[in-house]
């Protein structure tokens, strides 16, 4: 399979802190890639570099064969790069439905009327149908996370970047989320997913990479990667990772 998204020798530092250290990473078309790593490893910054809200110090971002390194976030979104934020960024004064209409109309480059039905359907799929006309600012954190995911999907992405969408979900909600993401995948969308809830991640992704202090320290088959000594070491023992996986 050809690559859809490639990071080439990406480096970024904030002052003395290195958040991306010469990272090379490729996402294949239709693939689901998981990223794990301790807090501060540079996972979210990597999403910022891919989507254009953070400029790398050096290196290139290639998407669909185009060099998008200097391209503005809104253009990357319209090309099919969508992202959910770890800290939800809703349009608080607008209704939940309007939030999706914005994403579908602008990110998807379509007229407003065209997107109404699709947005309504998406609300249903993401468990927000009964809150369609609520102001987004009045949602609980959990629903805001659902909205993040729904809004990213509304843009009609070819690559979907998910930043910790499973945190705080109870078991059956996590299962529903895994179903939803697998469902999205089956429509041909490539996925990069940052997640601390490892068992949910492993239920979806084909490949797992581990980020630590801005560097990729492991990459490969998910169940095998999380057992590697260098990975268990940074998580202070496999037991803890296992515990989290069973939680």
């Amino acid at each position: 399979m050809p690559p859809i998204l490639t990071l080439e020798k990406i480096s970024k530092r904030f002052g003395a802190v290195v958040v991306a250290d010469n990272i090379d990473l490729t996402l294949l078309r239709g693939e689901a890639l998981g990223i794990i790593g301790p807090n501060g490893a540079g996972k979210t910054t990597l999403f910022g570099i891919v989507t254009g809200t953070v400029a790398p110090d050096s290196g290139r971002v290639m998407f669909e064969g185009h060099d998008v390194t200097r391209m503005k976030p809104e253009h990357r979104c319209r090309m099919g790069l969508a992202r959910s934020f770890q800290i939800p960024q809703p349009f608080g004064g607008m209704t939940v439905f309007e939030n999706l209409v914005v994403a579908a109309a602008f990110g998807g480059g379509r007229s407003e009327r065209e997107v109404y039905a699709g947005c309504a359907g998406l609300l249903e799929r993401c468990g927000l149908a009964d809150k369609a006309n609520r102001r987004a600012a009045s949602l609980t954190l959990l629903d805001r996370k659902r909205l993040e995911l729904a809004r990213a999907l509304a843009t009609g992405p070819r690559v979907l970047l998910l930043d910790e969408v499973a945190g705080g979900l109870v078991e059956h909600e996590t299962a529903a989320l895994v179903d939803l993401i697998n469902d999205v995948r089956s429509t041909g969308v490539s996925i990069v997913w940052i997640e601390h809830v490892v068992h949910a991640l492993i239920a979806v992704v084909d490949r797992l990479v581990v980020l630590h202090e801005g560097a990729l320290i492991a990459e490969g088959d998910p169940p095998e990667v999380i057992r590697r000594p260098e990975v268990t070491e940074i998580y202070m023992g496999l037991e803890e990772l296992g515990l989290e996986a069973d939680a």
């Binding site: 934020f85 209704t95 309007e98």
Partner: protein, 336 residues
């Protein structure tokens, strides 16, 4: 399968729009029921509703906190005086020309000040306004710093009788505010309104969802300059006299406008209307108190900012979900 429909109107917007329409009709007939002094006061109120509505679009929606909108009030006024006095253009025809001139000037000005971020942008807008004021003071054809008055011939060209002149200016002032409010409602209901409201709520989110934030801000800045200059032109046509200090007054055309928008409710179309009513109620009842009046204005502004940061209308709208104009897109699902 469910049938998807989207509705803009709500009960509150039906009531609100009806009240607005009835009020407009009653106010259009004001020359038959109001005193001359009342007409002048009403025209001033319309100008402030319109100025504040435009500033609200700029700062409340597009996030462009300008403290230099007096640049365009003064520019519009000076273009009108210049055209009427030096080029013999009919003063009423000069009003739209003033708008276009300001829009033209706003294009390079925006290119310059959009390079500034946050506080620097605000200061930059003020600097631009000061530069305009100094340029006006150097314009000897319009008597520079001491200012000038419209000659009688120009004033008479509006209408020959004093009463008809006052009525004409009153109706134009009313028409300006109605058109500006209508244009803002239309804008906010359009695709661009969707983008603008998203920018108001979350700029990072807007950019990440495909909205070209800079381009929309640019368009709003130029459009607001266009409207502000037409308002400035009419304000000074009514005053007949102009000087750089009055035309480019930061107090009259920016400080009061910000006060109005903030106490009424920034980022909401109803805010400037409510704010203007409160501002004029305070002014009319407290004007005799002199400096204490300004102190009270300051206290009111601080109190509202502390206890109702979204303004008085924001307080009401958040609580009851009211909207005066049909803006919101409500999803109506009809199960089949």
């Amino acid at each position: 399968m469910s049938d998807v429909r989207v509705r803009h109107a709500s009960v509150s917007s039906w009531i609100g729009t009806t009240i607005v329409v009835l009020a407009t009709v009653a106010l259009a007939a004001a020359p038959w029921w109001a005193e001359r002094a009342d007409l002048r006061l009403l025209a001033e109120i319309y100008a402030y509703v319109a100025l504040a509505s435009l500033w609200n679009l700029l700062a409340g929606y597009a996030g462009l906190v300008s403290v230099g909108q007096q640049a365009y009030v003064g520019l519009g006024a000076y273009v009108l005086f210049g055209l009427a006095m030096l080029a013999g253009v009919h003063p009423l025809a000069a009003i739209p020309i003033a708008g276009f001139a300001a829009a033209l000037v706003a294009v390079p000005v925006a290119a310059l000040i959009f390079r500034l971020r946050g506080h620097y942008f605000a200061i930059g807008t003020w600097v631009v306004a000061e530069v305009f004021r100094l340029l006006a003071a150097q314009t000897s054809a319009l008597d520079g710093g001491s200012g000038t008055s419209l000659p009688a011939a120009v004033v008479l060209s509006i209408a020959s009788s004093r009463q008809m002149r006052e009525f004409t200016i009153y109706w134009i002032a009313l028409a300006q505010v109605v058109v500006i409010l209508f244009a803002i409602v239309w804008l906010l209901r359009s695709r661009y309104g969707l983008a603008l409201t998203a920018i108001r709520d979350n700029e990072l989110g807007a950019r990440s969802n495909g909205i070209d934030v800079v381009r929309i801000k640019y368009a709003v800045y130029v459009a607001v300059a266009f409207g502000t200059a037409m308002l400035g032109a009419l304000i000074f046509l009514q005053k007949i006299r102009i000087s750089p200090d009055t035309a480019f007054s930061v107090n009259d055309w920016t400080a009061f406008v910000i006060f109005i928008t903030v106490i009424g409710g920034i980022g909401r179309i109803e805010g400037p209307i409510i704010g203007t009513v409160i501002f004029f109620l305070l002014r009319q009842t407290l004007a005799d108190l002199g400096a204490i009046y300004l102190l009270i204005l300051g206290v009111v502004a601080i109190a509202v900012m502390l206890w109702a940061p979204k303004g008085l209308w924001g307080l009401v709208a958040d609580r009851f979900g009211w909207q005066v104009f049909p803006l919101q897109r409500r999803l109506v699902l009809k199960k089949r």
